[in-house]
């Protein structure tokens, strides 16, 4: 199909590298692997550039391929939750405000300990601000499964955050000699 939009590869990289990298990083928890995945995704985009019809199409395509490549990489590398925790703990790119909030900082790390389908759904919902319908389309998953994954993921993450917060308060109180 003929389309008037002429994609500029370098501009697309510039606009979407943060999105692709963040998805890959939060899915895999490994910075090196995330960068490699992001590069692979953009190189694949370069090969498919003629078929991209609009900026919105490029955005959806990049999201879908980034999630799919991250899942493939996880299957290959079998990265464990604890490794992810260590990788993400140096707060690369985190704002000062985030670093001040004990739960805020840990939520991202706790997210990496969730099962992959729950993590993927939460990531697209809260990082990319997608609706459950859009998430279902991106992950090629039934809508009911996405809604269930979102609910279960939130519940699990909240429970983990509450445990963490209790431990955080206990340690702080001990340090103060209470």
């Amino acid at each position: 199909m003929a389309h008037s939009w002429q994609p500029d590869f370098e501009q697309l990289v510039d606009e979407h590298q943060s999105m692709v990298y963040s998805l890959a990083l939060r899915m895999t928890g490994d910075r090196g692997l995330a960068e490699e995945i992001a590069q692979d995704v953009f190189l694949e985009l370069d090969r498919h550039l003629a078929r991209i019809e609009s900026p919105l199409h490029a955005l959806h395509w990049l999201r879908r391929v980034a999630m799919s490549r991250s899942a493939d990489a996880l299957r290959r590398r079998k990265v464990r939750g604890m490794d992810l925790w260590v990788e993400l703990s140096d707060g690369h790119g985190a704002s000062a405000e985030e670093r001040e909030s004990p739960v805020g900082v840990r939520l991202e790390q706790l997210l990496t300990t969730l099962p992959q389908p729950l993590r993927a759904a939460l990531l697209l919902r809260y990082q990319e601000d997608l609706t459950p319908e859009e998430i279902a389309a991106t992950l090629d998953t039934p809508l009911a499964t996405v809604k269930s994954n979102l609910q279960r993921g939130l519940k699990l993450l909240r429970a983990k955050a509450a445990d963490y917060l209790k431990e955080y308060v206990r340690v702080k109180e001990q340090a103060r000699g209470v």
Partner: protein, 111 residues
């Protein structure tokens, strides 16, 4: 979980899941890989065309050689046929002469 608490948790989650800036090395390494892949692709295409051209030249040489050999065989066959025909003509001529001489000889004896 009550609604307010849940909304607050979701806000906190949205806040902590803001997109992270990609490392500067990503775009640089990506462009390097892209250039390298393009160069490899060009090299591959060049080698492919060279091999294709070499194959076509070889096929032409073999075809030409075969055609030349075929024509040479035909020419030799034709020359041999002409030689045989010439030999037959000479033989026929000699036999006719001999037949005439014998006829003359018979006539002389009868006289």
């Amino acid at each position: 979980m009550d609604e307010i608490e849940r909304n607050q948790f979701e806000r906190e989650l949205t806040h902590s899941l803001e997109r992270r800036p990609a490392p500067p090395s990503l775009a640089r390494n990506l462009m390097e890989r892209r250039s390298r892949q393009r160069a490899e692709h060009l090299h591959f295409r060049r080698v492919l065309w060279q091999r294709l051209a070499a194959g076509m030249v070889l096929a032409s040489l073999l075809g030409g050689g075969f055609a030349w050999h075929h024509r040479e065989q035909q020419r030799k066959g034709e020359a041999a046929r002409q030689q045989v025909l010439t030999a037959l003509r000479i033989t026929s001529h000699a036999l006719n002469q001999m037949k005439t001489q014998l006829a003359e000889h018979d006539r002389d004896q009868q006289e």
